[in-house]
Protein backbone atom coordinates (compact mmCIF):
# COMPACT_ATOMS: atom_id res chain seq x y z
CA UNK A 1 0.00 0.00 0.00
CA UNK A 2 1.21 3.45 -0.86
CA UNK A 3 1.24 5.77 2.09
CA UNK A 4 -1.63 8.23 1.62
CA UNK A 5 0.59 11.12 2.71
CA UNK A 6 2.94 10.38 -0.18
CA UNK A 7 0.50 11.79 -2.72
CA UNK A 8 -0.75 15.30 -3.21
CA UNK A 9 -3.34 16.85 -5.48
CA UNK A 10 -2.44 19.84 -7.57
CA UNK A 11 -4.52 21.95 -9.92
CA UNK A 12 -2.08 24.63 -11.03
CA UNK A 13 1.19 23.87 -12.75
CA UNK A 14 3.87 26.14 -14.18
CA UNK A 15 2.51 25.43 -17.65
CA UNK A 16 -1.02 26.40 -16.71
CA UNK A 17 0.09 29.62 -14.99
CA UNK A 18 2.01 30.59 -18.11
CA UNK A 19 -0.97 29.58 -20.30
CA UNK A 20 -3.47 31.63 -18.30
CA UNK A 21 -1.06 34.55 -18.30
CA UNK A 22 -0.66 34.19 -22.06
CA UNK A 23 -4.41 33.99 -22.61
CA UNK A 24 -5.02 37.13 -20.55
CA UNK A 25 -2.19 38.84 -22.44
CA UNK A 26 -3.74 37.92 -25.80
CA UNK A 27 -7.14 39.20 -24.66
CA UNK A 28 -5.59 42.50 -23.54
CA UNK A 29 -3.83 42.94 -26.90
CA UNK A 30 -7.04 42.00 -28.74
CA UNK A 31 -8.88 44.69 -26.77
CA UNK A 32 -6.94 47.31 -28.76
CA UNK A 33 -7.81 45.54 -32.03
CA UNK A 34 -9.99 48.18 -33.71
CA UNK A 35 -7.21 50.74 -33.25
CA UNK A 36 -4.77 48.91 -35.51
CA UNK A 37 -6.63 46.17 -37.39
CA UNK A 38 -8.36 48.13 -40.14
CA UNK A 39 -12.04 47.75 -41.03
CA UNK A 40 -11.91 44.41 -42.89
CA UNK A 41 -9.93 42.56 -40.24
CA UNK A 42 -11.97 44.09 -37.43
CA UNK A 43 -15.12 42.63 -39.00
CA UNK A 44 -13.50 39.25 -39.58
CA UNK A 45 -12.09 38.95 -36.07
CA UNK A 46 -15.52 39.88 -34.68
CA UNK A 47 -16.87 36.85 -36.55
CA UNK A 48 -14.08 34.72 -35.07
CA UNK A 49 -15.12 35.77 -31.56
CA UNK A 50 -18.70 34.75 -32.34
CA UNK A 51 -17.50 31.34 -33.57
CA UNK A 52 -15.47 30.85 -30.40
CA UNK A 53 -18.57 31.56 -28.28
CA UNK A 54 -20.65 29.08 -30.33
CA UNK A 55 -18.01 26.34 -30.18
CA UNK A 56 -17.33 26.78 -26.48
CA UNK A 57 -21.05 26.68 -25.70
CA UNK A 58 -21.77 23.58 -27.77
CA UNK A 59 -18.76 21.89 -26.21
CA UNK A 60 -19.93 22.78 -22.70
CA UNK A 61 -23.26 21.14 -23.49
CA UNK A 62 -22.04 18.05 -25.37
CA UNK A 63 -18.43 17.59 -24.35
CA UNK A 64 -18.96 18.15 -20.64
CA UNK A 65 -22.70 17.66 -20.19
CA UNK A 66 -23.10 14.77 -22.65
CA UNK A 67 -26.07 16.59 -24.22
CA UNK A 68 -25.77 16.51 -28.01
CA UNK A 69 -28.19 19.10 -29.37
CA UNK A 70 -29.03 19.68 -33.02
CA UNK A 71 -31.23 22.62 -32.04
CA UNK A 72 -28.93 25.29 -30.61
CA UNK A 73 -29.94 27.51 -33.53
CA UNK A 74 -33.16 28.01 -31.55
CA UNK A 75 -31.35 30.09 -28.93
CA UNK A 76 -29.16 31.74 -31.55
CA UNK A 77 -32.26 32.89 -33.46
CA UNK A 78 -34.22 33.82 -30.36
CA UNK A 79 -31.28 35.93 -29.12
CA UNK A 80 -31.37 37.96 -32.34
CA UNK A 81 -35.17 38.14 -32.26
CA UNK A 82 -35.11 39.39 -28.65
CA UNK A 83 -32.79 42.25 -29.67
CA UNK A 84 -35.20 43.26 -32.45
CA UNK A 85 -38.17 43.15 -30.09
CA UNK A 86 -36.42 45.02 -27.26
CA UNK A 87 -35.13 47.63 -29.67
CA UNK A 88 -38.63 48.16 -31.12
CA UNK A 89 -39.90 48.54 -27.56
CA UNK A 90 -37.56 51.48 -27.07
CA UNK A 91 -34.61 49.84 -25.30
CA UNK A 92 -31.31 51.34 -26.56
CA UNK A 93 -29.62 48.90 -28.91
CA UNK A 94 -26.54 47.93 -26.90
CA UNK A 95 -28.35 47.37 -23.60
CA UNK A 96 -30.84 45.32 -25.64
CA UNK A 97 -27.99 43.12 -26.87
CA UNK A 98 -26.87 42.57 -23.30
CA UNK A 99 -30.40 41.85 -22.12
CA UNK A 100 -31.30 39.37 -24.89
CA UNK A 101 -29.15 36.47 -23.58
CA UNK A 102 -30.70 36.93 -20.13
CA UNK A 103 -34.22 36.65 -21.55
CA UNK A 104 -33.32 33.60 -23.64
CA UNK A 105 -31.65 32.02 -20.60
CA UNK A 106 -34.91 32.44 -18.70
CA UNK A 107 -36.76 30.77 -21.56
CA UNK A 108 -34.26 27.89 -21.57
CA UNK A 109 -34.78 27.56 -17.84
CA UNK A 110 -38.52 27.20 -18.43
CA UNK A 111 -37.95 24.65 -21.18
CA UNK A 112 -35.41 22.61 -19.22
CA UNK A 113 -37.77 20.37 -17.19
CA UNK A 114 -39.12 18.99 -20.47
CA UNK A 115 -35.97 19.04 -22.61
CA UNK A 116 -33.59 17.56 -20.06
CA UNK A 117 -35.71 14.50 -19.47
CA UNK A 118 -34.97 13.50 -23.05
CA UNK A 119 -31.88 11.36 -23.43
CA UNK A 120 -29.32 10.89 -26.18
CA UNK A 121 -30.77 11.06 -29.66
CA UNK A 122 -34.19 12.04 -28.35
CA UNK A 123 -32.69 15.19 -26.86
CA UNK A 124 -30.77 15.86 -30.07
CA UNK A 125 -33.80 15.87 -32.37
CA UNK A 126 -36.17 17.13 -29.68
CA UNK A 127 -34.14 20.33 -29.58
CA UNK A 128 -34.31 20.52 -33.37
CA UNK A 129 -38.11 20.32 -33.16
CA UNK A 130 -38.00 23.13 -30.59
CA UNK A 131 -35.88 25.22 -32.97
CA UNK A 132 -38.39 24.63 -35.79
CA UNK A 133 -41.26 25.59 -33.51
CA UNK A 134 -39.45 28.75 -32.36
CA UNK A 135 -38.79 29.66 -36.00
CA UNK A 136 -42.44 29.19 -36.99
CA UNK A 137 -43.72 31.18 -34.01
CA UNK A 138 -41.30 34.05 -34.69
CA UNK A 139 -42.55 34.02 -38.29
CA UNK A 140 -46.07 34.63 -36.99
CA UNK A 141 -44.99 37.89 -35.36
CA UNK A 142 -46.49 40.79 -37.33
CA UNK A 143 -43.30 42.78 -36.81
CA UNK A 144 -41.20 40.13 -38.55
CA UNK A 145 -43.78 39.29 -41.25
CA UNK A 146 -42.69 35.75 -41.96
CA UNK A 147 -39.50 35.45 -43.93
CA UNK A 148 -39.50 39.14 -44.81
CA UNK A 149 -37.59 39.82 -41.62
CA UNK A 150 -36.77 43.11 -39.95
CA UNK A 151 -33.72 45.33 -39.69
CA UNK A 152 -32.16 46.57 -36.50
CA UNK A 153 -32.91 50.18 -37.45
CA UNK A 154 -31.56 51.65 -34.22
CA UNK A 155 -28.03 50.73 -35.31
CA UNK A 156 -28.17 53.27 -38.13
CA UNK A 157 -27.80 56.00 -35.50
CA UNK A 158 -24.11 55.02 -35.25
CA UNK A 159 -21.48 55.75 -37.89
CA UNK A 160 -20.19 52.58 -39.63
CA UNK A 161 -16.74 52.84 -38.02
CA UNK A 162 -18.16 53.30 -34.54
CA UNK A 163 -20.54 50.42 -35.11
CA UNK A 164 -17.74 48.17 -36.29
CA UNK A 165 -15.58 48.92 -33.25
CA UNK A 166 -18.55 48.49 -30.90
CA UNK A 167 -19.39 45.12 -32.41
CA UNK A 168 -15.80 44.05 -31.99
CA UNK A 169 -15.61 45.07 -28.34
CA UNK A 170 -19.01 43.61 -27.58
CA UNK A 171 -18.03 40.28 -29.17
CA UNK A 172 -14.67 40.26 -27.39
CA UNK A 173 -16.36 41.07 -24.09
CA UNK A 174 -19.02 38.39 -24.55
CA UNK A 175 -16.39 35.81 -25.52
CA UNK A 176 -14.29 36.65 -22.47
CA UNK A 177 -17.30 36.48 -20.16
CA UNK A 178 -18.47 33.10 -21.49
CA UNK A 179 -14.97 31.62 -21.47
CA UNK A 180 -14.59 32.78 -17.87
CA UNK A 181 -18.00 31.37 -16.93
CA UNK A 182 -17.17 27.97 -18.40
CA UNK A 183 -13.76 28.04 -16.72
CA UNK A 184 -15.20 28.84 -13.30
CA UNK A 185 -18.03 26.35 -13.78
CA UNK A 186 -15.68 23.52 -14.73
CA UNK A 187 -13.42 24.16 -11.76
CA UNK A 188 -16.35 24.22 -9.37
CA UNK A 189 -18.29 21.35 -7.92
CA UNK A 190 -20.73 21.63 -10.83
CA UNK A 191 -17.91 20.86 -13.26
CA UNK A 192 -17.16 17.57 -11.59
CA UNK A 193 -20.87 16.78 -11.27
CA UNK A 194 -21.69 17.46 -14.88
CA UNK A 195 -18.87 15.25 -16.13
CA UNK A 196 -19.99 12.49 -13.77
CA UNK A 197 -23.48 12.75 -15.27
CA UNK A 198 -22.08 12.63 -18.77
CA UNK A 199 -20.18 9.44 -18.00
CA UNK A 200 -23.02 7.69 -16.17
CA UNK A 201 -26.15 9.43 -15.05
CA UNK A 202 -27.44 6.70 -12.72
CA UNK A 203 -24.05 6.22 -11.05
CA UNK A 204 -23.70 9.99 -10.59
CA UNK A 205 -27.14 10.21 -8.99
CA UNK A 206 -26.28 7.30 -6.68
CA UNK A 207 -23.26 9.14 -5.24
CA UNK A 208 -25.33 12.20 -4.53
CA UNK A 209 -24.97 14.37 -7.64
CA UNK A 210 -28.05 16.51 -8.19
CA UNK A 211 -28.59 15.49 -11.78
CA UNK A 212 -31.40 17.80 -12.83
CA UNK A 213 -30.08 21.07 -11.42
CA UNK A 214 -26.56 20.37 -12.69
CA UNK A 215 -27.73 19.63 -16.22
CA UNK A 216 -29.97 22.68 -16.07
CA UNK A 217 -27.04 24.97 -15.19
CA UNK A 218 -25.08 23.90 -18.24
CA UNK A 219 -28.17 23.92 -20.51
CA UNK A 220 -29.11 27.47 -19.50
CA UNK A 221 -25.52 28.68 -19.84
CA UNK A 222 -25.26 27.22 -23.34
CA UNK A 223 -28.56 28.82 -24.31
CA UNK A 224 -27.40 32.22 -23.06
CA UNK A 225 -24.11 31.90 -24.95
CA UNK A 226 -25.83 30.98 -28.22
CA UNK A 227 -28.28 33.87 -27.71
CA UNK A 228 -25.38 36.27 -27.23
CA UNK A 229 -23.79 34.94 -30.43
CA UNK A 230 -27.11 35.44 -32.24
CA UNK A 231 -27.43 39.00 -30.96
CA UNK A 232 -23.84 39.76 -32.02
CA UNK A 233 -24.40 38.23 -35.45
CA UNK A 234 -27.48 40.41 -35.85
CA UNK A 235 -25.42 43.49 -35.03
CA UNK A 236 -22.98 42.59 -37.83
CA UNK A 237 -25.63 41.60 -40.40
CA UNK A 238 -28.16 44.26 -39.26
CA UNK A 239 -31.07 42.44 -40.90
CA UNK A 240 -32.93 39.72 -39.03
CA UNK A 241 -34.17 37.04 -41.40
CA UNK A 242 -35.69 34.09 -39.52
CA UNK A 243 -34.55 31.59 -42.16
CA UNK A 244 -30.91 32.60 -41.75
CA UNK A 245 -30.90 32.78 -37.99
CA UNK A 246 -32.87 29.60 -37.28
CA UNK A 247 -30.88 27.54 -39.80
CA UNK A 248 -29.56 24.18 -38.60
CA UNK A 249 -26.32 25.17 -40.30
CA UNK A 250 -25.27 27.09 -37.16
CA UNK A 251 -25.40 23.88 -35.18
CA UNK A 252 -23.51 22.09 -37.95
CA UNK A 253 -20.75 24.71 -37.58
CA UNK A 254 -20.72 24.24 -33.80
CA UNK A 255 -20.41 20.47 -34.16
CA UNK A 256 -17.63 20.83 -36.73
CA UNK A 257 -15.60 23.24 -34.59
CA UNK A 258 -15.97 21.17 -31.43
CA UNK A 259 -15.21 17.83 -33.09
CA UNK A 260 -12.14 19.13 -34.90
CA UNK A 261 -10.76 21.03 -31.90
CA UNK A 262 -11.48 18.38 -29.31
CA UNK A 263 -14.77 17.43 -27.68
CA UNK A 264 -14.68 17.66 -23.89
CA UNK A 265 -11.57 19.82 -23.58
CA UNK A 266 -11.48 23.50 -22.65
CA UNK A 267 -8.94 24.50 -25.27
CA UNK A 268 -10.33 22.30 -28.08
CA UNK A 269 -13.33 24.35 -29.22
CA UNK A 270 -11.23 27.53 -29.28
CA UNK A 271 -8.75 25.82 -31.60
CA UNK A 272 -11.66 24.37 -33.60
CA UNK A 273 -13.14 27.84 -34.02
CA UNK A 274 -9.84 29.20 -35.30
CA UNK A 275 -9.53 26.23 -37.73
CA UNK A 276 -13.10 26.75 -38.95
CA UNK A 277 -12.48 30.49 -39.30
CA UNK A 278 -9.40 29.90 -41.44
CA UNK A 279 -11.07 27.19 -43.54
CA UNK A 280 -14.11 29.39 -44.10
CA UNK A 281 -11.95 32.36 -45.09
CA UNK A 282 -10.09 30.22 -47.62
CA UNK A 283 -12.82 27.98 -49.05
CA UNK A 284 -16.14 29.50 -47.95
CA UNK A 285 -16.68 30.95 -51.41
CA UNK A 286 -16.48 27.53 -53.09
CA UNK A 287 -20.01 26.81 -51.94
CA UNK A 288 -21.41 23.33 -51.92
CA UNK A 289 -18.16 21.35 -52.01
CA UNK A 290 -16.99 23.33 -49.00
CA UNK A 291 -20.07 22.15 -47.08
CA UNK A 292 -19.56 18.56 -48.25
CA UNK A 293 -15.98 18.76 -46.97
CA UNK A 294 -17.18 20.11 -43.61
CA UNK A 295 -19.56 17.17 -43.23
CA UNK A 296 -16.89 14.69 -44.30
CA UNK A 297 -14.37 16.17 -41.86
CA UNK A 298 -16.89 15.95 -39.02
CA UNK A 299 -17.54 12.30 -39.96
CA UNK A 300 -13.83 11.44 -40.09
CA UNK A 301 -13.10 13.12 -36.77
CA UNK A 302 -16.07 11.47 -35.03
CA UNK A 303 -14.94 8.03 -36.20
CA UNK A 304 -11.15 8.10 -36.20
CA UNK A 305 -10.01 11.14 -34.22
CA UNK A 306 -12.74 11.37 -31.56
CA UNK A 307 -10.52 13.42 -29.26
CA UNK A 308 -9.93 16.08 -31.90
CA UNK A 309 -6.74 18.05 -32.42
CA UNK A 310 -6.28 19.24 -28.87
CA UNK A 311 -7.42 16.02 -27.20
CA UNK A 312 -4.90 14.08 -29.28
CA UNK A 313 -2.10 16.46 -28.37
CA UNK A 314 -2.81 16.27 -24.63
CA UNK A 315 -3.14 12.49 -24.75
CA UNK A 316 0.28 12.22 -26.42
CA UNK A 317 2.16 14.84 -24.41
CA UNK A 318 0.29 15.09 -21.12
CA UNK A 319 0.28 18.88 -21.44
CA UNK A 320 -2.69 20.60 -19.85
CA UNK A 321 -2.83 24.31 -20.41
CA UNK A 322 -5.91 25.15 -18.40
CA UNK A 323 -6.00 24.24 -14.70
CA UNK A 324 -9.40 22.58 -14.90
CA UNK A 325 -8.66 19.03 -13.91
CA UNK A 326 -6.75 17.58 -11.01
CA UNK A 327 -3.26 16.17 -11.03
CA UNK A 328 -2.19 13.44 -8.65
CA UNK A 329 1.46 13.72 -7.65
CA UNK A 330 3.51 11.03 -5.95
CA UNK A 331 6.30 12.18 -3.68
CA UNK A 332 9.60 10.41 -3.98
Amino acid sequence: MTDVRAVSVRRWSTVSIVAIGGLVGILVILAFGPLFLGSYLTDRITTLFIYVILAVMWNALAGYGGLVSVGQQAFFGLGAYAVIRLSEAGVPVYPAMALAPVIVAALAFALSPLALRLRGGEFAIGMWVFAELAHLLVNLDGLIQGETGRSLIALSAFAPDVRRANNYWFALGAMTIFLALVFVLLRSRTGASVQAIRDNEEAAASVGVRVMSTKRTIFVLAAAGCAAAGALTLSTLITFQPKTFFSVQWTAYMIFMTLVGGLGTFEGPIIGAVVFFVVESLFGASGVWYLVALGATALVFSLWIPRGIWGTITARSGVQLMPIGYRLLFRK
Binding site: A62, I125, F130, L259, L291, L299
Partner: protein, 298 residues
Amino acid sequence: MIDQIVQGVLLGGYYALVACGLSFMYGVMRIINLAHGSLAVLSAFLVWYITEQLKVSPFLAMLVVVPIMAAGGWILQRAVLDRSLRSGPLTPLLSTFGIAIIIDNLLFERFGADTRSLAPDIGDLSYRSWTLPGGVTVGQLGLLTLGAAVVLIVGLQLFLKYTPLGRAIRATAEDRDTAELMGINSRAVYAAAAAIALGSVAVAGTFLGMRSTFDPYAGGAQLIFAFEAVVIGGTGSLWGTLFGAIALGVAQNLGAQVNPQGFLIAGHLLFFVVLAIRFFAAGRFSSGWIKALRRAPA
Protein backbone atom coordinates in the same frame (compact mmCIF):
# COMPACT_ATOMS: atom_id res chain seq x y z
CA MET B 1 -63.77 18.75 -40.25
CA ILE B 2 -64.43 15.07 -41.01
CA ASP B 3 -62.74 15.65 -44.34
CA GLN B 4 -59.68 17.15 -42.67
CA ILE B 5 -59.42 14.19 -40.30
CA VAL B 6 -59.66 11.69 -43.18
CA GLN B 7 -56.98 13.58 -45.12
CA GLY B 8 -54.86 13.66 -41.96
CA VAL B 9 -55.14 9.89 -41.57
CA LEU B 10 -54.01 9.43 -45.17
CA LEU B 11 -51.10 11.83 -44.62
CA GLY B 12 -50.26 9.81 -41.52
CA GLY B 13 -49.78 6.83 -43.83
CA TYR B 14 -46.79 8.57 -45.38
CA TYR B 15 -45.36 9.53 -42.00
CA ALA B 16 -45.71 5.91 -40.85
CA LEU B 17 -43.83 4.79 -43.93
CA VAL B 18 -40.92 7.15 -43.33
CA ALA B 19 -40.93 6.55 -39.55
CA CYS B 20 -40.80 2.76 -39.87
CA GLY B 21 -37.08 2.56 -40.61
CA LEU B 22 -36.19 5.09 -37.91
CA SER B 23 -38.25 3.22 -35.34
CA PHE B 24 -36.79 -0.11 -36.41
CA MET B 25 -33.16 1.04 -36.21
CA TYR B 26 -33.79 2.69 -32.87
CA GLY B 27 -35.47 -0.43 -31.54
CA VAL B 28 -32.70 -2.79 -32.63
CA MET B 29 -29.49 -0.77 -32.37
CA ARG B 30 -30.48 2.12 -30.10
CA ILE B 31 -29.26 4.46 -32.84
CA ILE B 32 -31.18 7.53 -33.90
CA ASN B 33 -29.97 7.96 -37.43
CA LEU B 34 -29.79 11.69 -38.08
CA ALA B 35 -29.25 10.99 -41.78
CA HIS B 36 -32.60 9.16 -41.99
CA GLY B 37 -34.50 11.99 -43.69
CA SER B 38 -31.64 12.75 -46.06
CA LEU B 39 -31.53 9.07 -47.06
CA ALA B 40 -35.27 9.18 -47.83
CA VAL B 41 -34.72 12.22 -50.05
CA LEU B 42 -31.72 10.50 -51.67
CA SER B 43 -34.02 7.55 -52.47
CA ALA B 44 -36.59 9.90 -53.96
CA PHE B 45 -33.91 11.38 -56.21
CA LEU B 46 -32.68 7.94 -57.26
CA VAL B 47 -36.22 6.86 -58.17
CA TRP B 48 -36.77 10.14 -59.98
CA TYR B 49 -33.50 9.79 -61.89
CA ILE B 50 -34.24 6.22 -63.01
CA THR B 51 -37.79 7.16 -63.96
CA GLU B 52 -36.58 10.08 -66.07
CA GLN B 53 -33.72 8.24 -67.72
CA LEU B 54 -35.42 4.96 -68.55
CA LYS B 55 -38.98 6.28 -68.89
CA VAL B 56 -40.32 3.61 -66.57
CA SER B 57 -42.93 3.71 -63.83
CA PRO B 58 -41.69 4.97 -60.43
CA PHE B 59 -42.94 1.71 -58.95
CA LEU B 60 -40.57 -0.22 -61.18
CA ALA B 61 -37.76 2.17 -60.32
CA MET B 62 -38.55 1.62 -56.65
CA LEU B 63 -37.93 -2.10 -57.09
CA VAL B 64 -34.42 -1.19 -58.23
CA VAL B 65 -33.77 1.44 -55.57
CA VAL B 66 -34.88 -0.70 -52.59
CA PRO B 67 -32.01 -3.20 -52.98
CA ILE B 68 -29.55 -0.35 -53.68
CA MET B 69 -30.52 1.41 -50.47
CA ALA B 70 -30.53 -1.88 -48.56
CA ALA B 71 -26.96 -2.49 -49.72
CA GLY B 72 -26.17 1.07 -48.69
CA GLY B 73 -27.58 0.34 -45.24
CA TRP B 74 -25.39 -2.73 -44.91
CA ILE B 75 -22.32 -0.69 -45.86
CA LEU B 76 -23.36 2.18 -43.57
CA GLN B 77 -23.58 -0.19 -40.64
CA ARG B 78 -20.29 -1.93 -41.38
CA ALA B 79 -18.27 1.16 -42.29
CA VAL B 80 -19.64 3.79 -39.92
CA LEU B 81 -22.15 2.73 -37.31
CA ASP B 82 -20.29 -0.33 -35.95
CA ARG B 83 -17.27 1.83 -35.30
CA SER B 84 -19.21 4.75 -33.86
CA LEU B 85 -21.27 2.47 -31.58
CA ARG B 86 -18.03 1.34 -29.97
CA SER B 87 -17.03 4.88 -29.00
CA GLY B 88 -20.09 5.61 -26.90
CA PRO B 89 -23.68 6.74 -27.26
CA LEU B 90 -22.94 10.22 -28.64
CA THR B 91 -20.75 9.27 -31.58
CA PRO B 92 -23.50 7.75 -33.79
CA LEU B 93 -25.35 11.08 -33.55
CA LEU B 94 -22.29 13.02 -34.65
CA SER B 95 -21.32 10.69 -37.47
CA THR B 96 -24.84 10.35 -38.89
CA PHE B 97 -25.23 14.15 -38.73
CA GLY B 98 -22.03 14.42 -40.76
CA ILE B 99 -23.46 11.97 -43.29
CA ALA B 100 -26.68 14.00 -43.53
CA ILE B 101 -24.68 17.15 -44.37
CA ILE B 102 -22.70 15.24 -47.01
CA ILE B 103 -25.82 13.72 -48.65
CA ASP B 104 -27.80 17.00 -48.68
CA ASN B 105 -25.00 18.99 -50.28
CA LEU B 106 -24.01 16.30 -52.78
CA LEU B 107 -27.66 16.15 -53.90
CA PHE B 108 -27.63 19.93 -54.25
CA GLU B 109 -24.39 19.77 -56.21
CA ARG B 110 -25.80 17.12 -58.58
CA PHE B 111 -29.44 18.17 -58.95
CA GLY B 112 -29.50 21.87 -58.00
CA ALA B 113 -32.12 23.74 -56.04
CA ASP B 114 -35.13 22.84 -58.24
CA THR B 115 -37.97 21.03 -56.55
CA ARG B 116 -38.90 17.74 -58.21
CA SER B 117 -41.86 15.43 -58.08
CA LEU B 118 -42.75 11.98 -59.32
CA ALA B 119 -46.42 12.98 -59.63
CA PRO B 120 -46.25 13.54 -63.43
CA ASP B 121 -44.89 10.01 -63.86
CA ILE B 122 -47.77 8.14 -62.29
CA GLY B 123 -50.52 9.48 -64.53
CA ASP B 124 -53.88 10.15 -62.97
CA LEU B 125 -53.07 8.12 -59.84
CA SER B 126 -51.77 11.34 -58.30
CA TYR B 127 -55.23 12.94 -58.28
CA ARG B 128 -57.73 10.09 -58.76
CA SER B 129 -60.05 9.74 -55.81
CA TRP B 130 -63.22 8.16 -54.51
CA THR B 131 -66.00 10.20 -53.00
CA LEU B 132 -67.53 8.81 -49.85
CA PRO B 133 -71.11 9.55 -48.77
CA GLY B 134 -71.00 12.96 -47.09
CA GLY B 135 -68.73 14.43 -49.75
CA VAL B 136 -65.46 13.26 -48.23
CA THR B 137 -62.93 12.51 -50.97
CA VAL B 138 -60.35 9.81 -50.50
CA GLY B 139 -57.32 10.10 -52.75
CA GLN B 140 -56.25 6.78 -54.21
CA LEU B 141 -52.55 7.57 -53.81
CA GLY B 142 -53.09 8.48 -50.16
CA LEU B 143 -54.92 5.23 -49.57
CA LEU B 144 -52.18 3.32 -51.37
CA THR B 145 -49.57 5.00 -49.14
CA LEU B 146 -51.46 4.09 -45.99
CA GLY B 147 -51.87 0.56 -47.34
CA ALA B 148 -48.15 0.33 -48.06
CA ALA B 149 -47.39 1.44 -44.51
CA VAL B 150 -49.69 -1.20 -43.04
CA VAL B 151 -48.25 -3.89 -45.31
CA LEU B 152 -44.70 -2.86 -44.36
CA ILE B 153 -45.48 -2.94 -40.63
CA VAL B 154 -47.34 -6.27 -40.81
CA GLY B 155 -44.54 -7.68 -42.95
CA LEU B 156 -41.88 -6.55 -40.49
CA GLN B 157 -43.82 -7.96 -37.53
CA LEU B 158 -44.27 -11.34 -39.23
CA PHE B 159 -40.62 -11.32 -40.26
CA LEU B 160 -39.46 -10.56 -36.71
CA LYS B 161 -41.76 -13.21 -35.28
CA TYR B 162 -41.38 -16.19 -37.58
CA THR B 163 -38.05 -16.10 -39.41
CA PRO B 164 -34.67 -17.18 -37.97
CA LEU B 165 -33.14 -13.79 -38.83
CA GLY B 166 -36.09 -12.04 -37.21
CA ARG B 167 -35.57 -14.03 -34.03
CA ALA B 168 -31.86 -13.21 -34.11
CA ILE B 169 -32.67 -9.51 -34.49
CA ARG B 170 -35.08 -9.60 -31.55
CA ALA B 171 -32.56 -11.47 -29.41
CA THR B 172 -29.77 -9.03 -30.26
CA ALA B 173 -32.01 -6.03 -29.59
CA GLU B 174 -32.92 -7.51 -26.20
CA ASP B 175 -29.36 -8.26 -25.08
CA ARG B 176 -26.46 -8.15 -27.48
CA ASP B 177 -23.91 -9.92 -25.27
CA THR B 178 -26.18 -12.82 -24.39
CA ALA B 179 -27.18 -13.19 -28.03
CA GLU B 180 -23.49 -13.46 -28.89
CA LEU B 181 -23.14 -16.23 -26.29
CA MET B 182 -25.95 -18.10 -28.06
CA GLY B 183 -23.91 -18.09 -31.25
CA ILE B 184 -25.49 -15.10 -32.94
CA ASN B 185 -23.14 -12.93 -34.98
CA SER B 186 -24.43 -9.58 -33.76
CA ARG B 187 -22.44 -7.55 -36.28
CA ALA B 188 -24.09 -9.43 -39.12
CA VAL B 189 -27.49 -9.02 -37.45
CA TYR B 190 -26.97 -5.27 -37.11
CA ALA B 191 -25.92 -5.00 -40.74
CA ALA B 192 -29.03 -6.93 -41.80
CA ALA B 193 -31.24 -4.69 -39.64
CA ALA B 194 -29.69 -1.56 -41.15
CA ALA B 195 -30.26 -3.01 -44.63
CA ILE B 196 -33.94 -3.63 -43.82
CA ALA B 197 -34.33 -0.13 -42.36
CA LEU B 198 -32.85 1.53 -45.43
CA GLY B 199 -34.89 -0.69 -47.75
CA SER B 200 -37.99 0.73 -46.05
CA VAL B 201 -36.52 4.22 -46.40
CA ALA B 202 -36.36 3.66 -50.17
CA VAL B 203 -40.08 2.84 -50.21
CA ALA B 204 -40.79 5.95 -48.12
CA GLY B 205 -38.70 8.10 -50.46
CA THR B 206 -40.67 6.86 -53.47
CA PHE B 207 -43.99 7.76 -51.87
CA LEU B 208 -42.56 11.13 -50.79
CA GLY B 209 -41.77 11.83 -54.42
CA MET B 210 -45.19 10.71 -55.68
CA ARG B 211 -47.34 12.57 -53.17
CA SER B 212 -45.45 15.87 -53.04
CA THR B 213 -42.38 17.75 -54.21
CA PHE B 214 -38.91 17.37 -52.78
CA ASP B 215 -35.59 19.18 -53.00
CA PRO B 216 -32.03 18.39 -51.81
CA TYR B 217 -32.54 20.03 -48.41
CA ALA B 218 -35.89 18.37 -47.61
CA GLY B 219 -34.21 15.68 -45.49
CA GLY B 220 -34.30 17.54 -42.20
CA ALA B 221 -38.08 17.92 -42.32
CA GLN B 222 -38.56 14.20 -43.13
CA LEU B 223 -36.36 13.26 -40.18
CA ILE B 224 -38.35 15.51 -37.87
CA PHE B 225 -41.73 14.12 -39.03
CA ALA B 226 -40.50 10.55 -38.67
CA PHE B 227 -39.09 11.27 -35.23
CA GLU B 228 -42.29 12.97 -34.09
CA ALA B 229 -44.35 10.00 -35.25
CA VAL B 230 -42.10 7.61 -33.33
CA VAL B 231 -42.21 9.66 -30.12
CA ILE B 232 -45.96 10.38 -30.25
CA GLY B 233 -46.69 6.70 -30.76
CA GLY B 234 -44.39 5.62 -27.96
CA THR B 235 -40.99 4.30 -28.97
CA GLY B 236 -40.37 0.63 -29.39
CA SER B 237 -43.49 -0.52 -31.19
CA LEU B 238 -44.16 -0.39 -34.92
CA TRP B 239 -47.94 -0.24 -34.39
CA GLY B 240 -47.35 2.65 -31.99
CA THR B 241 -45.41 4.37 -34.76
CA LEU B 242 -48.39 3.97 -37.14
CA PHE B 243 -50.69 5.41 -34.49
CA GLY B 244 -48.30 8.30 -33.83
CA ALA B 245 -47.94 9.00 -37.55
CA ILE B 246 -51.72 9.20 -37.99
CA ALA B 247 -52.06 11.45 -34.92
CA LEU B 248 -49.37 13.72 -36.38
CA GLY B 249 -51.06 13.87 -39.79
CA VAL B 250 -54.47 14.66 -38.27
CA ALA B 251 -53.01 17.35 -35.98
CA GLN B 252 -51.24 19.00 -38.91
CA ASN B 253 -54.35 19.05 -41.08
CA LEU B 254 -56.47 20.48 -38.29
CA GLY B 255 -53.77 23.07 -37.54
CA ALA B 256 -53.78 24.17 -41.16
CA GLN B 257 -57.47 25.05 -40.74
CA VAL B 258 -56.54 27.63 -38.10
CA ASN B 259 -53.60 29.30 -39.83
CA PRO B 260 -51.52 28.70 -42.96
CA GLN B 261 -48.47 28.12 -40.74
CA GLY B 262 -50.60 26.08 -38.33
CA PHE B 263 -49.89 22.87 -40.25
CA LEU B 264 -46.35 22.51 -38.90
CA ILE B 265 -46.96 24.31 -35.62
CA ALA B 266 -49.78 21.94 -34.62
CA GLY B 267 -47.58 18.91 -35.32
CA HIS B 268 -44.71 20.26 -33.21
CA LEU B 269 -47.09 21.25 -30.41
CA LEU B 270 -48.62 17.78 -30.34
CA PHE B 271 -45.10 16.38 -30.03
CA PHE B 272 -44.34 18.53 -26.98
CA VAL B 273 -47.74 17.90 -25.39
CA VAL B 274 -47.19 14.14 -25.69
CA LEU B 275 -43.73 14.53 -24.14
CA ALA B 276 -45.21 16.52 -21.28
CA ILE B 277 -47.82 13.80 -20.69
CA ARG B 278 -45.12 11.16 -20.77
CA PHE B 279 -42.92 12.92 -18.23
CA PHE B 280 -45.37 14.59 -15.89
CA ALA B 281 -48.73 12.88 -16.06
CA ALA B 282 -48.05 9.32 -17.12
CA GLY B 283 -48.08 8.08 -13.53
CA ARG B 284 -51.70 9.07 -13.06
CA PHE B 285 -53.16 7.14 -15.97
CA SER B 286 -53.28 3.47 -16.58
CA SER B 287 -54.49 3.16 -20.15
CA GLY B 288 -52.38 1.12 -22.52
CA TRP B 289 -51.13 3.98 -24.64
CA ILE B 290 -49.97 6.05 -21.66
CA LYS B 291 -48.26 2.98 -20.25
CA ALA B 292 -46.55 2.45 -23.57
CA LEU B 293 -45.28 6.02 -23.35
CA ARG B 294 -43.87 5.42 -19.89
CA ARG B 295 -42.05 2.37 -21.11
CA ALA B 296 -40.33 4.52 -23.68
CA PRO B 297 -36.62 3.78 -23.38
CA ALA B 298 -34.14 6.34 -22.25
